[in-house]
């Protein structure tokens, strides 16, 4: 491998993977005590936090692990964009990465719902409302889709069954492409994979240690059981940018904002194909990338400081 691969910016994807491993382990343990029945879900989370030995810490590790994974995957995306590593022959690698990002957001969303507290209940109500806006395509988000079971149980099924299956498939594709195409550098391959794994594993273990401390000193809160038909909370922080668009556009913003963002990410390899020898990246792509980043961070920040608003029925 190229020695460059052992630098932290090039290890962000690998660190995301190690973060996902932590989420799988803590998730499997938490799921032994979780009850996906609508009337029992919140109680089971209370039980995990208050009665299961180390349950509060496992839940905190899962929460902070999810947050860190979203940060590292976002930084990984920014680095790949900055390096223009999406150009031929790496378009499929970029697209699989975009799908993985989308999948991680889906994990974060379904995980929020599973808590069964007010924030989770409102998230689920938003999913139902969004599904209604999407018409037949949004039918799976409707409680009517499978009358024999609850929507919460189906969200749990997605979180622990369907989404992990997709994740494994996409991660396998992403890794296979990395192995096949190598990392994007002209440097000679003078380092070994064992050396890379040593650096990556060491950094991941330091990250685990930091997460263990963070989980111990700042366990995440749990809200009161959800009261349906009411909106008094804000979403989990990675969704605050969508919340900002909802504040200004209403419920449509919840559909339009992710479509625009993920659509824009998907077309990046199609609009920037110019070789370095031919003058490098067009300036407008740089400007669009920077504007996009600023808009994303700005809306995230605004969502955090804006007063709470109700959107359902807007």
């Amino acid at each position: 491998m190229a020695p460059t691969a052992n630098r932290v910016p090039y290890m962000l994807g690998g660190l995301t993977f190690f973060g996902i491993l932590l989420l799988i382990v803590t998730g499997v343990l938490l799921d032994q005590f979780y009850n996906p029945a609508p009337l029992g879900a919140h109680d089971s989370v209370v039980y995990i936090v208050t009665r299961v030995p180390l349950g509060w810490w496992l839940r905190a590790l899962h929460y902070w692990g999810a947050s860190i994974v979203l940060v590292t995957v976002f930084l990984h995306l920014c680095w790949v964009f900055a390096r223009r590593s999406y150009r031929p022959p790496r378009e499929v690698q970029w697209w699989s990465g975009v799908l993985l990002l989308l999948l991680l957001f889906a994990f974060a969303f379904t995980g929020t719902v599973l808590r069964g507290d007010q924030e989770g209940g409102e998230a689920l109500a938003h999913a139902v409302a969004g599904g209604t806006l999407l018409g037949p395509l949004g039918a799976p988000a409707s409680p009517d889709f499978a009358p024999s079971t609850s929507l919460l149980a189906r969200v749990h099924n997605a979180h622990v069954g369907l989404l992990p299956l997709l994740l494994v498939a996409l991660v396998a594709l992403h890794f296979w492409l990395v192995r096949w195409l190598g990392i994007h550098t002209a440097e000679a391959r003078t380092s070994t994979f064992a050396q890379h794994l040593r650096r990556l594993g060491g950094t991941a273990l330091l990250l685990y240690g930091a997460l263990a401390i963070l989980a111990a000193v700042a366990p995440p809160h749990l809200g009161y059981p959800a009261v349906e038909g009411v909106e008094v909370t804000k979403p989990f922080w990675p969704f605050l940018w969508i919340y900002t668009f909802e504040n200004s556009l209403g419920m449509v913003g919840m559909i339009v904002a992710p479509l625009v963002v993920f659509g824009a990410l998907a077309v990046v390899p199609l609009v920037d194909r110019r070789d370095d020898a031919a003058g490098g990246r067009p300036r407008w792509v740089v400007a669009a990338g920077v504007a996009f980043l600023l808009l994303f961070l700005g809306t995230l920040l605004y969502g955090a400081i804006a007063p709470q608003m109700a959107h359902l029925g807007m």
Binding site: P38, L39, G40, D43, V46, Y47, V49, T50, R51, L54, W56, W57, G116, D117, Q118, E119, G121, L124, A127, G135, P136, L137, A139, P140, P143, D144, P147, S148, S150, L151, L152, R198, R199, G201, G202, T203, A204, L205, L206, L207, Y208, G209, A212, I213, A216, P219, H221, L222, G223, Y224, P225, A226, V227, E228, G229, V230, E231, V232, T233, Q308
Partner: protein
């Protein structure tokens, strides 16, 4: 190519269609607001004739079976059903399910009145959870929505802290060791 995409889209739409198909009947509730445990008058028309429907009270988080009704030869019915006492306040939909499970009609219902305190554990929940809720539930009887976190006590004994310290130190130690430059 375009035809293939259109055909695929059509297939997806057809697969999702059952969720919105069948809905040709009408149901009317005796009241648009009610309290858990109340009786609810229900009247339906333009439904399949001489058919038994299941009536379900449905919210995003929880659904409750209310009972069954059978239509007459004109496709109408009239009935009174009892709302579940354990349902939490909020916006619900009363849905009429055909024998094949499809929704045949629906009407909105708001559950508004007092009920068990917010946070009351479900029937069958461990006694320890019930005690936890009783100790930390808000001091109001009626349910209310709040963004405030629950004040849950975390009983971490010395053994648990020892495990956390051990895991943390092991991760940091092993990580530092792996990152140490290899000896030549």
């Amino acid at each position: 190519m375009t035809r293939r995409w259109l055909a695929a889209l059509l297939l997806v739409a057809l697969a999702a269609a059952p969720a919105i198909a069948h809905e040709h009947g009408r149901i009317y509730l005796g009241a648009s607001q009610a309290a858990p445990g109340d009786s609810l008058a229900l009247r339906g028309e333009k439904l399949s004739k001489a058919t038994t429907f299941r009536v379900v009270l449905r919210g995003p988080l929880a659904s409750y079976p209310l009972g069954e009704v059978t239509t007459d030869r004109a496709g109408a019915f009239q009935s009174t059903l009892r709302l579940p006492a354990e349902a939490r306040a909020g916006a619900y939909t009363v849905v009429l399910l055909a024998p094949d499970g499809d929704v045949s009609a629906r009407a909105d219902l708001a559950l508004t009145a007092a009920e068990p305190p917010a946070g009351a554990p479900a029937a069958g929940a461990p006694a320890a959870v019930a005690a936890e809720h009783a100790a930390h539930a808000p001091a109001v009887a009626a349910p209310h929505a709040t963004a405030q976190p629950m004040a849950l006590p975390v009983h971490a004994g010395p053994g648990e802290w020892a495990v956390i310290a051990l895991v943390t130190l092991a991760c940091l130690g092993a990580g530092a060791r792996l990152l140490r430059p290899a000896r030549r």
